[in-house]
């Protein structure tokens, strides 16, 4: 599914009633099957952009054109339904769209196998580790075989090793599908490992400061010179972006 948006802009009012611009106006075009990482410091409007794309929020102005298709969404930690088992959580998007019970079960079983949670399907989220919870969240986002998959810092609360495992799992699943992926993160290494293309956003207002296709071969090795080179260059962009005086005041 390809995706074009033009002139997207969003502002909020702070408690004193003053309106401030969090996003744009910005333009972006994402091609079908592309794995795009939106990289930016906290508060740069990347989550807002994702919420606009998913329809949770309306932009103040601008146009989004999406070819029609299924949407998958993976939230940060803590968005699983705690009163449902892992399996019921994963089946939720299918049931919500009226898929038959028996088909829900087979498809949930397939995706749970894929993320390695088959034997935990009857567990409840609070009985699982953080990594397993986010694997469940991934499965819930992927179970509908979405054409557009949106991920909002899904691994931000995990420890580094678990995060790396899940990045590898996500990327290998996405390689086998034709889904367009937009992955929001503030972790540079994560973005450089995952993405076909990285869009770096700056804040106040949210805007694009760098947009680049990555030319690192698969499978990516985090210790290879090409990887560290790209990582360093993005780190530099980041340093320039994050003016210390700005981060302190926010």
């Amino acid at each position: 599914m390809s995706l074009v948006f033009t002139g997207i802009q969003k502002s909020y009012r702070d408690p004193s009633g003053k309106s401030f611009n969090v996003l744009g106006p910005m333009d972006l075009r994402v091609d079908t099957g592309e794995f795009l990482c939106l990289l930016g410091p906290t508060g740069c409007g990347k989550t807002t952009l994702l919420r606009i794309l998913s329809g949770l929020e309306e932009p103040d102005s601008g146009n989004i054109s999406l070819s029609s298709g299924r949407l998958g969404y993976v939230f940060q930690q803590g968005a699983l339904f705690p009163w449902m088992t892992v399996e019921a959580n994963v089946m939720f998007p299918l049931k919500a769209t009226g898929v038959l019970e028996s088909e829900c079960r087979t498809r949930a079983a397939e995706i749970l196998d894929l993320v390695g949670l088959h034997e935990f399907r009857k567990s409840f989220p609070h009985e699982l580790s953080g990594g397993m919870q986010q694997r469940t969240a991934l499965a819930r986002g992927l179970v509908t075989e979405p054409d557009l998959l949106l991920l909002d810092e899904p691994f931000a609360s995990l420890d580094t090793r678990t995060g790396i495992n899940l990045q590898e799992m996500l990327r290998s699943i996405c390689n086998r599908s034709s889904a367009t992926v937009i992955f929001v993160t503030h972790n540079i290494e994560e973005a450089v490992f995952l993405a076909d293309r990285i869009v770096v956003m700056g804040h106040r207002p949210g805007r694009i400061v760098r947009d680049e296709l990555l030319d690192i071969k698969w499978p990516r090795n985090r210790l290879s010179s090409s990887f560290t080179e790209v990582l360093l260059s993005f780190r530099q962009t980041f340093e320039e972006l994050v003016d210390p005086s700005v981060t302190l005041s926010s």
Partner: protein, 288 residues
């Protein structure tokens, strides 16, 4: 999950178990002993005489029926009132929780009515409902002069019980709905769920622990209200009535027996519902 959670009690031999169970009974035993020491045969009968009354639950007392009968009358009044309170309060609470407009619309009335003790409404409800019982409401007039539980279910009594129970149900339900985490609703929305589906599978289960807490509060309140209401004019049956009547006739052994029954039933209500709530695991959604 039980295999994963380490047992909280380190040693659980039969003796430790027994001593843990017994430790809860030390205080009641002391109170019983104190009661025994303070009792005399004129003013305050000892525990033995109250127990004697309790051990014959189906014996007619003071010609107003047995302990069993009067307890049953009070219980059925409470359950009926509670049933109505739940039936009305739950949907109202959901509506007030879900709709800002409906909450504003009804808030003044609920805020005024809530602190108003149901007992304060007893005279009014007698004026409105007279002594109409459910026998008459259901048109079963031929039962009117026989001993039938329907004769003892006065509409006015049930009304004040429903009044007493409905506000905890409304307020806790509303609170439950309002405190459902926004991310659950949003997650459901982006995963493709419609409004009705979200209500049934997200909002309702997420609010359920609070709704259930409301029911528990309502049972407790109704049980307090019925005892007080039965001690006032408007009825001649029920455990509260027996309590007051035995006091008037100076049958303090019967009175003390009534007090014990009221306490034990109150205890069973609160503990039983707590246990049931955890047993059914609807309280799982507390993890939020």
């Amino acid at each position: 999950m039980d295999g994963l959670t380490p047992s909280r009690v380190k040693e659980s031999g039969p003796w430790q178990k027994l001593s843990r169970i017994l430790s809860g009974f030390i205080l009641p035993a002391l109170i019983l002993a104190l009661w025994y020491l303070l009792s005399d045969n004129t003013l305050l009968p000892g525990p033995g005489r109250a127990l004697d009354v309790l051990s014959h639950p189906s014996r007619d007392l003071l010609s107003c029926g047995s302990l069993f009968w009067n307890t049953a009358v009070s219980l059925i009044r409470v359950l009926l009132g509670l049933f109505i309170a739940i039936l009305l309060g739950t949907p109202l609470g959901f509506m007030m929780g879900a709709s800002e407009r409906f909450r504003r619309f009804s808030s003044v009335v609920t805020e005024l009515a809530r602190p108003l003790s149901p007992i304060a409404l007893l005279p009014l409800s007698i004026i409105i409902f007279k002594d109409t019982s459910f026998t008459e409401v259901l048109g079963l007039d031929h039962l009117k002069y026989s001993r039938n539980i329907l004769n003892e279910l006065q509409v006015g009594m049930v009304f004040i019980l429903a009044w007493g129970g409905v506000f905890p149900v409304i307020l806790e339900t509303m609170h439950g709905v309002r405190s459902v985490r926004k991310v659950y609703i949003e997650a459901a929305r982006v995963l493709g769920a419609g409004r009705l589906f979200i209500f049934k599978h997200v909002l309702f289960p997420a609010a359920l622990p609070d709704v259930f807490a409301g029911y528990r509060m309502a049972v407790g309140r109704c049980w307090m209200v019925i005892i007080a209401a039965e001690m006032l004019p408007g009825t001649n049956s029920g455990i509260g009535y027996l309590l007051r009547y035995s006091y008037q006739l100076s049958r303090l052994d019967v009175m003390l027996a009534c007090i014990l029954i009221i306490a034990v039933i109150g205890f069973i209500f609160s503990r039983g519902l707590e246990y049931a709530g955890e047993k059914w695991l609807i309280l799982r959604s507390r993890e939020r």
